[in-house]
Assembly symmetry: C2
Homo-oligomer: 325 residues x 2
Amino acid sequence: MKVVVTGGAGFLGQMLIRALCERGRLTRSDGAQYTIEQIVSIDQAQTGRLFVDERVGYVVGDIGNAQFLSHVLARDTDSVFHLAAVVSGAAEADFDLGMRVNLDGTRAVLECCRAQPGAPRVVFASSVAAFGGPVPMVTDDTYPRPATSYGVQKLVAEFFVGDYSRKGFIDGRAVRLPTIVVRPGKPNAAASSFASGIIREPLAGVEAICPVDATTELWVSSPGAAITSLIHAHELAPDVWGTQRVLNLPGITVTVAAMIDALRKVGGDAAAARVRMQRDEIIRRIVDTWPARFQTIRANAVGFAQDADFLGIVRAYAATLKAPA
Amino acid sequence: MKVVVTGGAGFLGQMLIRALCERGRLTRSDGAQYTIEQIVSIDQAQTGRLFVDERVGYVVGDIGNAQFLSHVLARDTDSVFHLAAVVSGAAEADFDLGMRVNLDGTRAVLECCRAQPGAPRVVFASSVAAFGGPVPMVTDDTYPRPATSYGVQKLVAEFFVGDYSRKGFIDGRAVRLPTIVVRPGKPNAAASSFASGIIREPLAGVEAICPVDATTELWVSSPGAAITSLIHAHELAPDVWGTQRVLNLPGITVTVAAMIDALRKVGGDAAAARVRMQRDEIIRRIVDTWPARFQTIRANAVGFAQDADFLGIVRAYAATLKAPA
């Protein structure tokens, strides 16, 4: 079978492609597992060193370009993991760019899937940003009221995934990812970039700026749990999703103070001292609109994975720094 | 000031234009009332006899055509009432048409408003179809889970209205209209078309088919209350809307049996006998996804109008049949 991963050159995309290669198989619409023969990554740019496997091909292009997309998806795509997005801070700074990629791009992906002979399974990476605060506790029935353009675009794309599925054009599944911590590499334009930065940089001996207050709560997940969830979302039978094609993934509620505490336990006082509190009002305003407490009853009931605690997340990240690449 | 009404040649559009002309004034962004100097109706076609007033101009064109739209809105539009839509049954039968008009068309309208020097007030006519059943009681906090493409498109457009308002591109207000009863004229492709038909046709001595069961509940509003609400939505100060730019309008919960009972009281046994119960599974399935019971606390608190009862709606409609045109 052929699998397409949009945003495949990104951090999560790379982890997902590696996990798919290790796994080797995925479920197709007939309910049986098939060998993954081909994985095509689509991304706007090729940056850094990419995971190499004979099954994996990397294509550079714009998901908003329908002609390019239909060429890549051809008529033999069984599954799509749609991760490509303009991140929250960038979509807030450049409204039109966010609409073009997050909205029109997603629609182009769905249209290409619709043109396939079958109804491909489509896993869409949505976000906690679909919610806007203040919401004391988000449940499976909380009305999503996004407070950022990124959140609106992700939410609207969820509704498209739902309607395309209802019409039988695709077999879609959208999952709202918590903030992913710890992301390796460099800071990006996501308003949540600091959440990884305040762990990653100090462990590398570098100072990190924390633009929000120590009491700020975040709803987070490890990269590993997120990848497991994306694949689990794909593997669940269609009737588990039924008419509701989106759910909130499990995560952990953690304060910035508790994050720094975990950093101290893993990296020592010197590491913790490298976090400099320096409020950035623009980032703080965006982050404050994201609820941090969730009851993920539906996701738990259908077996989505969850991290044990934040200390474990930091320890797992620190372990990757010592492992050979 | 200049007001644009999309869907202005339709039934509600015509009623709205007439009401605006009678009223003569609207509030502008500075909070003061101004004389309406010009009303431009945009509609895809010119059908039947149109309301004539020296202030009103009728333009025929496609709201999905950005160039056409920007020409009509020019740079002097103060307010837009956006009513144009592909109705529910048609959007379900032709997915692409619904997406093009209800989604892309709305976005084109919003983009043209954004290009105005000010931030025009935009009143968007959304729909109870934003909700999908079964929902025993819809409140202001009920998660909208539309079960039709029309509902998805209306809901997505609401989120655009909200985000364009948050960004300061427009001063938007979206109201979810109940099913409007009694519409004059001919049946249309809305799944709710029968709700007017089973009153209108029997009163005109014509048989009407009711495609849903007598126990079916509907959430309805008179055309008059809907027009009053659209204008009220426009007139409310921006801070009344705040960050939540959509609300559920008041209405009446009524069963088909009670509707026929009201018809009997106004038109006699002969009229009631002209309703033929003949189930249509496609229409029934769509109508059954619309919740019929609402608590409209927010709308009531800010003064939106409500019909007294269904009998009054039928009596008011019957009175229009006797009045000179």
